[in-house]
């Protein structure tokens, strides 16, 4: 399914853009698309069709965010992609989760395989008490479990956020780790443990 929708996204995105735009804008945008099309090539595991946008990627490719209604529509659509663990178990091993959070590798054209990716969480988030080399594109998640508790609601929300951040904020900067097959279900379980386990350095000093 995913592969097909990625390939189909280009014409769909173009069609969606048409009604609102003026003729001159349409021409300029068609020219832009043509420029993108001739400027990229397939290298290693990064195929050229990565440049074709999904509908929501296109909607979120402007200086300003789309309208509230458009955001809500995207979020509802993205919400449908979330798969909760089939066995109902949300937590793996926090120690492995920490490694995944630290590992920022994967999916570039210099990587050998599209599998075994890191989560790159530290690129954007503060997480544990002891790791001070963290990025600031996302909010601090220090003491996440301690602060949020472990109600079913918060557990399911957090799983959903990691699986597909766009379900909660259409144009989020955070990747869709589950939906875009960046991480496996097992890796996400390890990250959940890292965020929630009272013994994890996210929660324990």
């Amino acid at each position: 399914m995913k592969k097909i929708s990625t390939l189909a996204a280009l014409p769909v995105a173009l069609l969606l853009a048409l009604p609102a735009a003026h003729a001159a804008d349409e021409d300029a945008y068609a020219e832009f698309k043509a420029m993108m099309d001739r400027s990229f090539k397939t290298t290693g595991i990064a195929p050229k069709h990565r440049m074709y946008q999904l509908d929501f990627q296109k909607a979120c490719s402007q200086e300003k965010q789309p309208s509230k209604a458009e955001m809500a529509r995207i979020e509802a659509e993205q919400m449908k992609t979330i798969r909760y663990p089939a066995d109902g178990k949300y937590f793996g091993d926090w120690k492995q989760g920490e490694k995944i959070a630290l590992d920022g590798r994967g999916l570039t054209w210099t990587d050998k395989t599209p599998l075994n990716n890191g989560g790159g969480c530290y690129n954007c988030h503060q997480l544990s008490h002891h790791e001070i080399s963290y990025g600031t594109i996302g909010p601090s998640l220090l003491e996440y479990g301690k602060a949020r508790g472990n109600t079913e609601e918060i557990i399911k929300y957090t799983w959903g956020k990691i699986y597909n951040a766009k379900a909660f904020n259409a144009c989020s900067n955070m990747p869709r780790n589950g939906d875009a097959e960046i991480l496996t279900e097992q890796q996400m379980k390890h990250l959940m443990a890292f965020l929630f386990d009272p013994a994890s350095p996210v929660n324990k000093k």
Binding site: Q53, T108, A180
Partner: protein, 271 residues
Amino acid sequence: MTEPTKYALPVAVATLLALVPLTAPAADKMMEAINEYRELLADGNPSELVAAQGEELWKTRRGPKNATLEQCDLGLGPGVIKGASAQLPRFFKDTGKVQDLETRLMTCMETLQGIEPQAVIKAGWLKGERENMAALVAYVVTESNGHKVKVDLKHPAMKKMYDMGKLAFYYRAGPMDFSCATCHGDEGKRIRMQELPDLRTHEGAIAGWGSWPAYRVSNGQFWTMQHRLNDCYRQQRTAEPIYGSDVTIALSVYLAGKANGGKVVTPGIKR
């Protein structure tokens, strides 16, 4: 060209930077090392060695036509290098295209020397004709150090490239849904300990655009702007931009346009 063995200090710093995981003390140490290194470099930038090679290449007869590049027109007339790269990209009548420094140098290599552009486009980074390109770039940009960025956005072809560059800057794609704006579209953000310039603003653009091409202390290499953009696209997890392709020119016009009027510090020195 990049033979770090020649310079003991860069190697020491580069090794330190490459090997230490970025824990906070290590990151502090790294910043310290870079700052010390920058001070040491106050009157000597390792790019000078690369630039010297570039100057030699500029004046060497090469290619099927056995000619030098001394008659190359970078926009200010044949053979004028001083201040030329601060005014690039620009529209060139003879090619009918907006060109950045590297694509313009490819034109000169082709027309004056008979060296096929594909020889540069197909080479790997810092290999073959691409390595020669980096040396030529180092030479040319050194002659614009201290000049002001001055690109003509009133020219219709430039204006069009600027608009396309802006669209490209916000273009989200690939498995991580990133655009340039994900990493360079907000003030005061970092990835791990690495500070990110906000390239939407004049200040960010001049800090970013105005200090490239640059010598990278972490790997002891001189990188051109094409190389910088290529590596950002790699981090963005898109497909690979073709060397010198229009998207790279459009982004360069966009960044240079934002940086217009700011002071060029090239070659820069980077992490």
